[in-house]
C-alpha cells in the first residue's frame, strides 16, 4: 500500500531536457559552429550575405534536427503534424527571405554606389564644358587679325591663379569634384576633373592630383573646338 506522499511523488513528472531529448550540448555545439562559420567567412570575404548564408547552413541543419525531435512522443499526432507543418513553412520562408533579400539589397547597394558615379560624371562633364565654352566663344569672336592665343584668354579669365606652377586648381561645381587646368606647348588648354571620393573603373589609375583610382575626365580645348574624354 503506497502512501499518499509516494503517490504524489509518482504523479509529479520530470521536465524533459531541452528540445525533448536533444541535449543542451547539441545547442551549444550548433551555436559555436554557426559563430565560427559566420565570423570566419565574414573576416575572409568581408561580405555580410556570404557570411549570413554560410552561418545559416549549420543553423538550418540544427533546426531540421530539432523539428525531427519535436515530432517524437509524447506529443500527440495532431500536435506533431502541426509542428512539422509550421517548421517546414518557417524554414522555407526563411530560406526564401534570405535569397530574395540578399539579391535585392545587393542590387540596392550597387544602385546607390552607381548613383554616386553617375552623379559625379555628370557634374564633371558639366563643369568642364561650362568652364571651356565661354573661353572658346571669346576666342572665336575675336577679329581674325588681332587674335590672342586661347591659353592667353583662358589665363586672363582665371587671372587670380598662379600659372607658374604648371597646373592650377579651378573652382569645382561641388566638394565632390575638383577641376584642374594646364596648358600645352601648342597653346591648347587641358581641363581635368577628378572626383574627390568616388572610385573609377581602374583602382590603380593615377589621377593628376596625386590620388589613386578616382573618377577622372579630361577636356582638351583648342582653336578647333573641344574634345571630351573619360579617363577613369
Amino acid at each position: 500500500m503506497k502512501s499518499v506522499h509516494d503517490m504524489e511523488r509518482h504523479r509529479t513528472i520530470r521536465l524533459p531536457r531541452i528540445a525533448g531529448g536533444m541535449p543542451v550540448v547539441w545547442l551549444v555545439i550548433a551555436m559555436v559552429v554557426t559563430c565560427g562559420t559566420f565570423s570566419g567567412v565574414y573576416i575572409t570575404t568581408g561580405d555580410i550575405w556570404t557570411a549570413a548564408l554560410a552561418g545559416g547552413i549549420p543553423a538550418l541543419i540544427y533546426m531540421a534536427g530539432l523539428t525531427v525531435h519535436a515530432t517524437c512522443t509524447p506529443a500527440s499526432r495532431r500536435c506533431r503534424i502541426a509542428v512539422m507543418l509550421v517548421a517546414v513553412t518557417v524554414l522555407t520562408g526563411i530560406s526564401a527571405e534570405f535569397m530574395v533579400l540578399s539579391s535585392r539589397t545587393r542590387w540596392q547597394a550597387d544602385m546607390i554606389a552607381g548613383t554616386g558615379v553617375s552623379y559625379d560624371r555628370s557634374a564633371m562633364m558639366s563643369a568642364l564644358f561650362s568652364t571651356a565654352s565661354p573661353v572658346f566663344a571669346s576666342y572665336q569672336q575675336q577679329p581674325q587679325r588681332k587674335r590672342r592665343a586661347m591659353a592667353e584668354i583662358f589665363k586672363d579669365s582665371w587671372s587670380t591663379r598662379d600659372w607658374t606652377t604648371g597646373m592650377v586648381t579651378l573652382d569645382g561645381p561641388s566638394e565632390r569634384v575638383n577641376v584642374y587646368a594646364s596648358t600645352t606647348p601648342d597653346g591648347a588648354i587641358v581641363l581635368t576633373a577628378v572626383a574627390a571620393v568616388t572610385p573609377g573603373g581602374d583602382a590603380a589609375f593615377a589621377n593628376v592630383n596625386g590620388c589613386i583610382g578616382r573618377l577622372q575626365s579630361r577636356l582638351l580645348l583648342n582653336g578647333k573646338g573641344m574634345s571630351y574624354e573619360i579617363e577613369n
Binding site: L15, T34, A59, C79
Partner: protein, 292 residues
C-alpha cells in the same frame, strides 16, 4: 452553456492555448520595448544606417540587408566600410543564434513539456518554466514570420523599381549624349563666324560653303552611321533629331526606346514606348528638359 464551461476551464488552466497566446503577445511587446531601449542606449540613431529600428532579435536577414545597403551608402559617400566588423555584424550574428537556435529550442521544449504536463495530473513548479519557454520561443518565431512574407509580397514593387531604374539609367545615358551634342553644336556655331567677326550661324562650313549643321559634327567622329545632313539619326535604342528654331537657338530632341514591359510615359506617335528629352541650345547655354 458549453462555451461558458470551456471558458471557465481555460481561465483556470495556465497552459491553455488562450493563455499561451497572451504570453507570446506580452513577450513580443516586452522584446520590442527592450530592443528599442537597446537602440537608443547604443546610439544607433544614425540616419545613414537604415536598420536602427529593425526587429533586432528576430530578423537576421533584415539586419544583413541593412548592413549591405548601409555599405552602399557609405561607398556613395566615399568611405570603404566593407568587411569591417561592427556592432551591426555582431547583432546580426546574435539575431541568427536567437532566432534560429535558442528561440526554436525553447519553443520545442515548451511544447513537449506542455504535452507531458497534459498527460500527467500535476507538475510541481513546472508551469512557469513552460509558460516562459513558450512565450519566448513563440514570440521569437512569430517575429521571424513577417519578414519572409514581406519579401514575397513586395516582389511586384521591386520589379517595378528595377524597371524604373533601368529607364533612369537609359535616360542618364541619353542626357550625356545630348549634352555633348549641345556643346559640340555651340562649337560649330562659334566656328561659323566670319573672319572679321560676327556672322555666327547654326550652319557649318562644308566644302567652302555653309551647309546645315550635320549630325555627325554633333555626335563626334565615328558615332553616326554616316556623315549626312539628315536631321534624324538612330544609334541603337537612341534616336536624335535637331531643329533650328531661330538664328541664335537650336533644339535637340533625343528619344530612347524603353525595355519591356514599357515606360511610365505614354507611347509616342509611332507606337513605341519611349523616354524623351529636349535640349534647348543657345550660343552659351544648354537647357535640358525631360518630357513626361
Amino acid at each position: 452553456m458549453k462555451f461558458r464551461i470551456d471558458l471557465q476551464r481555460a481561465v483556470k488552466d495556465p497552459l491553455h492555448g488562450i493563455w499561451i497566446a497572451c504570453y507570446i503577445g506580452a513577450a513580443m511587446i516586452a522584446l520590442g520595448a527592450v530592443q528599442e531601449s537597446f537602440v537608443h542606449v547604443a546610439g544607433w540613431g544614425d540616419p545613414a544606417i537604415p536598420i536602427a529600428h529593425a526587429v533586432l532579435p528576430a530578423q537576421p536577414a533584415v539586419l544583413a540587408g541593412g548592413i549591405e545597403v548601409a555599405e552602399g551608402i557609405l561607398q556613395f559617400s566615399g568611405h570603404t566600410a566593407r568587411g569591417v566588423w561592427s556592432g551591426y555584424v555582431t547583432t546580426t550574428l546574435m539575431a541568427m543564434l536567437i532566432s534560429y537556435m535558442v528561440g526554436p529550442a525553447l519553443l520545442v521544449w515548451g511544447i513537449r513539456a506542455r504535452a507531458r504536463h497534459r498527460q500527467q495530473i500535476a507538475v510541481r513548479g513546472g508551469v512557469p518554466a513552460i509558460a516562459a519557454a513558450l512565450a519566448l520561443g513563440g514570440s521569437t518565431l512569430a517575429a521571424v514570420v513577417p519578414a519572409p512574407l514581406y519579401a514575397l509580397v513586395s516582389h511586384r514593387t521591386y520589379t517595378m523599381l528595377e524597371r524604373d531604374h533601368r529607364h533612369s539609367e537609359a535616360l542618364d545615358d541619353l542626357s550625356v549624349e545630348l549634352y555633348v551634342m549641345a556643346r559640340n553644336a555651340q562649337v560649330e556655331y562659334h566656328r561659323s563666324g566670319e573672319p572679321r567677326g560676327g556672322g555666327h550661324t547654326w550652319l557649318t562650313p562644308v566644302h567652302g560653303r555653309k551647309g546645315p549643321l550635320r549630325m555627325c559634327d554633333l555626335l563626334g567622329p565615328g558615332r553616326g552611321p554616316q556623315c549626312t545632313e539628315s536631321a534624324h539619326v538612330t544609334i541603337g535604342r537612341q534616336m536624335f533629331s535637331l531643329r533650328i528654331e531661330r538664328a541664335d537657338s537650336l533644339t535637340l530632341h533625343g528619344l530612347v526606346v524603353c525595355e519591356p514591359p514599357g515606360c511610365p510615359a505614354p507611347a509616342d506617335t509611332s507606337g513605341q514606348d519611349t523616354l524623351s528629352m529636349v535640349v534647348g541650345v543657345t550660343p552659351l547655354n544648354v537647357n535640358m528638359i525631360f518630357e513626361e
